[in-house]
């Protein structure tokens, strides 16, 4: 049973990634950059500076459509 579990494709994929990450050299720096970048992008920029305005300000697609119709016919 245990042998089946440990040789399952999921476990092999897990080990593949685990060992790959462990053996990284320059990759560690790159992953650090990727993680910091994603935190800045999603945790700061998206959250505080780049809301989806129509999703945030309106509850339904009808309201969003009405808003855009109003915007596009009064400029």
């Amino acid at each position: 049973m245990a042998l089946t579990l440990f040789s399952s494709p999921f476990v092999r994929v897990w080990r593949f990634y685990r060992d790959g990450f462990r053996e990284m050299t320059v990759g560690r720096t790159l992953w650090a950059i990727i993680i910091i970048k994603l935190i800045v992008m999603f945790g700061i920029l998206k959250l505080f500076f780049f809301p989806d305005l129509l999703s945030r300000d309106f509850d339904s697609d009808e309201q969003r459509a009405a808003h855009v119709r109003s915007e596009l016919t009064r400029r």
């Binding site: 593949f16 790959g20 053996e23 320059v26 800045v40 780049f50 459509a65």
Partner: protein, 530 residues
């Protein structure tokens, strides 16, 4: 300047900044991934340790570029939702589909096969590893396909119908997204990545020669970079010709701006080199150029593949003379009338809105019929004068020339690099001037690539969606100060990323040891690739 126009300008600057920075990383990923796959194919065929070392070296640089550049494109999607919310809603049904496919494909293909590329050297068979490398390259190009299809649709919107109730353009024919504009744009952009990667590989290899190290590795790399770059550049030129024909048919105003052409003619010449007259406007009689050198009949050949054909200029187009998509010259709707019809479309939409609020179905249908009659000119209704429908001529004109001239230079560059590396390797090895030229050409290739995008994007102004939605209507009404603040924030973040990329790459390049790269010793150590 009104707050709205300040917001439009800053939002455009912000989008341009993020797109330009994003495009610094993308073409190298597109080109270097194929280059690495070719090198690994040679390794798998020959089992040469030197080719394995060469593959791993360039794969490492590919990994650095990929890691720094990955997800920078997401910022553009943030901007759609915040700065361009009207646009996002107006075309979301069409624009959203390719972007969603791109996101899913990019995530699954790249996360799977890149992991095998970098972690799998000792864990999977050489054949499986090679397949993963090729699939990574293919995945990158397929990702680009969807982005470029979406971009091409904005330049040539087809396969949709406007629904005033949803206030959206609704897709009616998915396959029409793959128009001639899209196909040419895809191959032109992706293959230019091969040329860019070719210059990058040759430039870095020249650095090794200048340093007097890794000579054999440098020569191997220059051969691959030279052939791939040459093939990529020739195909880029071929698809550029296809793009020019498409632009002539679908965006003739862009072509006129690219040439600074105000009054067209049969057998129209192509401006090779010129200085634009800054006093020239579409409605005065000034000469368009301070000086010019032209190729007779060149523009007619470029636009229609017919030396005697008519190419309309800005004034012709404003007065209603244009092409059909089949390339026939026709009299169409003059811009002043387009503005009138656009305004009528706006008024019909306002009527529709009032009828909708009143739940008057008959009035809604009547308004919709009126709207449909003038909808092809909807975007023109935002303009006060025809001049507002003309792209910025100087930026488009000069960007086009920078792209073409540098393209010509790089054709010569690849040719000379291949002749030197095969016929005169000693000269290549010892001539420092040649090595410096190769190294200094690397940033020029990025200038060429970015100039191409400036032609495409500035030349289509004032439109976000051709004829339907100008930038001033597409933008969200945000406080200009807020957009300005995020512009500078992005400028800072992207500059830090660029500095990180260049410094990490330089460190990795300078660490490369002769014994590893020339003879392939030590290449099978576990952690030398990632």
């Amino acid at each position: 300047m009104t707050d709205l126009m300040t917001t439009v300008d800053w939002s455009r600057w912000q989008f341009a900044l993020t797109a330009i920075y994003h495009w610094l990383f993308v073409p190298l990923t597109l080109g270097l991934s194929v280059m690495v796959a070719v090198m690994e194919s040679v390794y798998v065929r020959t089992r040469s340790a030197a080719w394995l070392a060469t593959t791993k070296f360039w794969m490492r640089l590919f990994g650095i570029n990929f890691a720094i550049g990955v997800a920078t494109g997401l910022i553009l999607e943030f901007e759609f939702g915040t700065n361009w919310s009207n646009y996002s809603w107006f075309v979301g049904d069409i624009f959203g589909a390719p972007l969603a496919i791109e996101g899913i494909l990019a995530f699954f293909m790249e996360s799977t096969f890149i992991a095998v590329m970098f972690f799998g050297w000792k864990r999977v068979s050489p054949g499986f590893h090679l397949a993963a490398t090729w699939l990574t390259a293919l995945g990158a190009s397929i990702s680009a396909l969807w982005i470029l299809v979406a971009n091409a649709w904005m330049q040539y919107p087809v396969g949709m119908e406007f629904d005033p109730a949803q206030m959206r353009n609704v897709m009616t024919d998915f396959w029409s997204l793959f128009s001639g504009v899209a196909v040419n744009k895809f191959f032109h952009a992706v293959l230019s990545g091969w040329a860019l990667a070719g210059v990058f590989v040759i430039g870095v290899s020249a650095w090794f020669l200048l340093r007097g190290s890794n000579r054999e590795f440098a020569f191997r790399s220059i051969k691959v970079g030279g052939w791939m770059g040459l093939a990529g550049l020739l195909l880029t030129m071929y698809t550029g010709d296809g793009s020019a024909v498409e632009v002539a048919k679908c965006q003739p105003m862009k072509l006129a701006a690219m040439e600074g052409l105000y009054d067209g003619s049969h057998g129209q010449s192509l401006v090779a080199l010129a200085a634009l007259n800054p006093d020239k406007r579409f409605d005065n009689q000034e000469d368009p150029y301070l000086f010019e050198m032209s190729l007779p009949k060149g523009l007619s050949i470029l636009a229609n593949h017919d030396a005697s054909s008519f190419v309309p200029g800005i004034n012709d187009l404003v007065n209603g003379i244009s092409f059909t998509p089949e390339g026939d010259t026709i009299r169409t709707v003059a811009y002043a009338e387009r503005i009138e019809r656009g305004r009528r479309a706006h008024e019909a939409l306002r009527q529709y809105d009032r009828a909708m609020v009143a739940r008057d179905t008959a009035a809604m249908e009547e308004a919709e019929t009126l709207l449909r009659a003038d909808y092809p000119y909807f975007g023109y209704g935002y303009f006060d004068s025809v001049e507002e429908a003309i792209p910025p001529v100087p930026v488009t004109f000069y960007s086009f020339r920078v792209m073409v001239m540098l393209g010509g230079y790089f054709l010569l560059f690849f040719f000379v690099a291949l002749v030197l590396v095969y016929r005169f390797p000693r000269a290549l090895d010892s001539n420092k001037a040649t090595q410096w030229i190769a190294m200094l050409s690397v940033p020029l290739m990025w200038v060429c690539s970015e100039a191409g995008w400036m032609v495409a994007e500035v030349g289509r102004q004032p439109w976000t969606v051709q004829d339907l939605l100008p930038t001033r209507a597409a933008v969200s009404f945000l406080e200009p100060g807020a957009v300005m603040a995020t512009f500078w924030m992005f400028a800072g973040v992207f500059t830090v990323l660029l500095v990180a990329e260049v410094s990490i790459m330089m460190r990795q390049i300078s660490k490369a040891r002769t014994e590893d790269l020339d003879r392939g010793t030590g290449v099978l150590s576990s952690s030398d690739t990632h």
